[in-house]
Symmetry: C2
Subunit: 572 residues, 2 copies
């Protein structure tokens, strides 16, 4: 099997001039303005038409590309860490009569398939993160829809807890992807209509086949928005609603004037085949189609109190390592689509990891501890929906304990060395894994279960047996017997087994691997989130890949050309 990688050069539709960088900060935002007034923040969308990641398109009418969404993601993160006093976020537009026109169509029409899918994944994660802020941080998002919200623009509003629509006969919400582009509203819109807002399925069908929007009172009656407000009362109504939601917020009171944690610029070196942060390192093996990722445990002993953690700010190990892992995942997904396997290693003192975990768990009511745990949870969730094979390697010197053990539990397979490497230092201890409090509920997957529960779905006795070992460092044989790892080769077989597993993975159809992994990673119950990433995404991927949308005569390709699409009407 030849390793034919269709890179950027091979695909004329996919010329990426440079690597996408996810590290931005408010001072350099081109598309958003973030302002904070006591408990109420305003996130104002004002997309720079000429600020797209590519010059293939102009970002008219507050349409967005990945670059716009990277800033939105950054803002949602800073709101949680830098502005702990904020309890309501008003999401609105600075454009006249336009809230947001959704994902830029020309961008979608000209992007490679993998770029489209990756873009949708990230935008979905950001919108899920907004809902997570409402649910777990008492930061409620209000969509103040002060103009037309179409497609992804309305989907952005759907991710907010409360949707207000200006009632002026022209401002409307719509999901016109199907009639206009021959694709689906791919950012959770279909799922959120019926499962979150409980729009009746036949009403949803009607709404999603209209190319025009629904205005004012009808939008309220159909549950598409929560309230329609005349222009004259708009500013006051939005302010009142924001104040009311702030009042209702479950966010722990922040001492007046207590500063948040500054998310200082992330130190990162990316050169050749290395990506290096402070605690996270990746070696990119393009020949093998793999990325070797190592996550380091803490270098300093755990602070005695959570206050010291506050003082350490972005340098506090759990926050630092999560930010780095988050950035690495996004970087590799976006910039290295041909690295199909990620090897996950850890390195450091597992006991120290557990002490940091415990500090966070013991201070669950502290806003910063709460934010860090939820941030780690969201970052691990990114792994669960990453279309790469994840293989954890548990070797001597590793620290797969507590929060870092989740990396192994998120992997498709785990290998733990039985015994030691022959040439190792005689003082080295064998590789172990240790379950701890952090594995028992704080870091739930999108399906609402812990990774441990998902692993032992339907096998309660295995789950209990594993859980009973909490706190014990388990060598390979015990971990294998308990079902916590997949394989426990010894020194003689280790290198060969890993080599073969990697080569084998690299020889398989990447599409089939993605489909298989997406099905196995989420056994058990489904939630709105797993539906969005599982069912809706899969359908959208299929549609994106069909000639009726993306072919030369497809609706997405022909949009705006004046030519209508030529469909093959065969139903599949």
């Amino acid at each position: 099997m030849t390793r034919a990688v269709a890179g950027d050069a091979a695909d004329p539709k996919h010329s990426r001039a440079q690597l996408v960088d996810f590290r931005v900060e408010p001072a350099s935002y081109r598309h958003w303005r973030l302002s904070v007034d006591g408990p109420v923040a305003t996130l104002c969308m004002d997309v720079d038409e000429h600020g797209g990641l590519s010059d293939r398109y102009e970002l008219k009418l507050n349409s967005y590309d990945l670059g716009v969404d990277i800033e939105l993601y950054d803002a949602t993160q800073r709101l949680r860490f830098e502005h702990p006093q904020v309890r309501t976020v008003i999401l609105t537009s600075a454009k006249d009569k336009v809230f947001c026109a959704g994902a830029n169509i020309r961008m979608l029409a000209t992007a490679a398939h993998e770029a489209k899918v990756n873009f949708c994944k990230f935008t979905n994660e950001t919108r899920n993160g907004m809902e997570d802020a409402s649910a777990n941080s008492g930061q409620a998002y209000i969509a103040a829809v002060n103009g037309t919200a179409s497609g992804g623009g309305y989907e952005l509003a759907l991710a907010c807890e409360h949707i207000m629509l200006i009632d002026d006969r022209s401002s409307a919400v719509s999901l016109p992807e199907l009639p206009l582009l021959g694709v689906l509203p791919g950012t959770g819109g279909l799922t959120r209509l019926v499962d979150k807002r409980h729009v009746r399925r036949d009403v949803a069908d009607y709404v999603c086949t209209r190319s025009d929007g629904i205005t004012g009172k009808k939008a309220v009656a159909w549950r598409l928005v929560d309230e329609a407000v005349p222009r004259a009362q708009w500013a006051q109504a939005v302010a009142d609603r924001a104040a009311a939601l702030a009042e209702r917020s479950t966010r722990a009171p922040i001492e007046n004037g207590e500063p948040g944690i500054q998310l200082t610029p992330l130190g990162k070196k990316r050169a050749g085949s290395e990506i290096e942060y402070s605690y996270v390192h990746a070696r990119l093996d393009r020949a093998k189609g793999a990325a070797e990722i190592t996550v380091q445990g803490p270098r300093a002993p755990v602070p005695k109190t959570i206050e010291t953690a506050h003082d350490q700010g972005a340098g506090f190990w759990p926050l630092a390592v999560t930010r780095e892992l988050d950035d690495l995942i996004l970087d590799l997904r976006t910039n290295e689509p041909a690295l199909g396997t990620w090897l996950l290693r850890t390195s450091g003192d597992g006991q120290e990891v557990l002490r940091y975990d415990q500090l966070l768990l013991d201070n669950a009511s502290d806003w910063l501890a709460n934010e860090i745990v939820h941030y780690l949870k969201r970052t691990l969730k990114r792994l669960d929906v990453t279309s790469r094979s994840l293989i954890a390697l548990i070797e001597p010197g590793s620290c797969f304990t507590g929060s870092l053990l989740e990396l192994a539990l998120a992997a498709d397979r785990t290998y733990q060395l039985a015994g030691l490497f022959e040439d190792s230092d005689p003082d080295t201890a064998s590789a172990t894994v240790t379950l701890a409090g952090m594995n028992l509920g704080a870091l739930r997957m999108g399906n609402g279960l812990t990774r441990l529960q998902t692993r032992f779905l339907g096998d309660d006795s295995a789950l209990e047996a594993a859980t009973a070992t909490t706190g014990q460092a388990l060598e390979a044989d015990s971990a294998e017997e308990l079902g916590l790892i997949t394989f426990a080769p010894d020194d003689i077989d280790w290198a060969e087994e890993i080599r073969m597993a990697l080569e084998e993975r690299a020889s398989f159809s990447p599409d089939a691997l993605t489909g298989m992994e997406a099905n196995f990673r989420f056994a058990g119950p489904e939630t709105m989130e797993t539906k969005i990433f599982g069912r809706l995404t899969a359908w959208q991927n299929w549609i994106f890949n069909r000639p009726n949308a993306a072919g030369p005569a497809g609706a997405l390709t022909r949009f705006g050309t004046g030519q209508r699409a030529d469909f093959d009407f065969t139903r599949v």
Copy 2:
């Protein structure tokens, strides 16, 4: 938009010499032998290599195509109706050392995309039906795997309640689709491994990346099968297990010697643009891309007792109409893929429908009544996963009551005429819909909810208000207010609204419609069944449509040619 329908002629891969007929009977089976011995039936697979639906392929090693599965489906139906005394079904193979090699690969490789997807849908429905027989009819399926079960062969076993594997070092189970063909096990295999058999996700990952199979004790240890039995004890062990499961069966005792209901040949005329049965009729409007389906209510008054229904046998209206609807759905799906919209009408006396419903509900412990209701349930479920737009038209003279109201509740949209048509007989009554007992639990969707619960998901007061009208004939305005229908045009608007809805539907991308409908039809909870049809199917469709599988250098295309696949290794 030109209506470019890629029919058979346009696609050289898809030459269908004649229409597929789903009406078969045991005497003419080419691939299966059904024998019954008291409470134990044996369904023996013995595929005729030269009996495929097409001569493009030979059905070696008990591999199957749609024709083989049509016989299997027929057998499962006859077991429930014609053999009420059967409590265990042994599914086994007549071939030496081969249980079943799964779907024929050459068939898959040469089939059109829509044919592959339609084939998988039907095979999934048949396997779900086997599980339904275990759950609701006390007919447990035992897979007596007396040779190699690979791919769809093992998936067939996975749909059984109990899997026995002959322990002879060569008989093995495997899901080698990913390594060999670059596609997924598409008949529920991935979902059933983790969600039904609770195989650990990393073990499942390993199993599904192996091209060879898992034998004997290891297959038991990994939960892939329930028991491994040496060849010497095989026949006795299978017989013992069958007897034990029959003993355990919840099937109501059948009086010794009571005959089942003969599923007599279905009267059907199919000519030109008409398909006609006794109670079901379809007009195929190829120009408009629509099928107009009319389901007729009973012509005879309801029998006084369920015994009379037994005497009427296959002529008993609820059974007759269900069989006809079932056959029509399968026919249209398979033979008319370009008819993208199905218009659903009913005609007859709605009160009589309710009386038939009530007879069935009042005799829930009668085996035949039970079978008919579950058969109707399964047939309506077919509608839920049919990739066609479903529009119900509720007009004067219709009988959308109880069981037939489910047709409207299954539709993507419903139109009910307000008032009468201007030129109608003055004695005509307005169109009504009537909720009844049959809508409240007996005919649940794959998501475990009634269609009414799904419709009003998250809106309990609307659900209660609707349910409170049980038994009342609701005219259009009431039905609209209650949310039971979508639109209530009057005579002046009716024809134009329907025409526009149809034309609009016919102008949209059929792929986007399929994706949208698949997402809206199943709001709320997910089950193994919705996962199989929602998530797994969507991923498989995507993979089937990717060059890595189905392109000229794809794995599915090149299988068996000696040439390896050329993959684009970009991860999507």
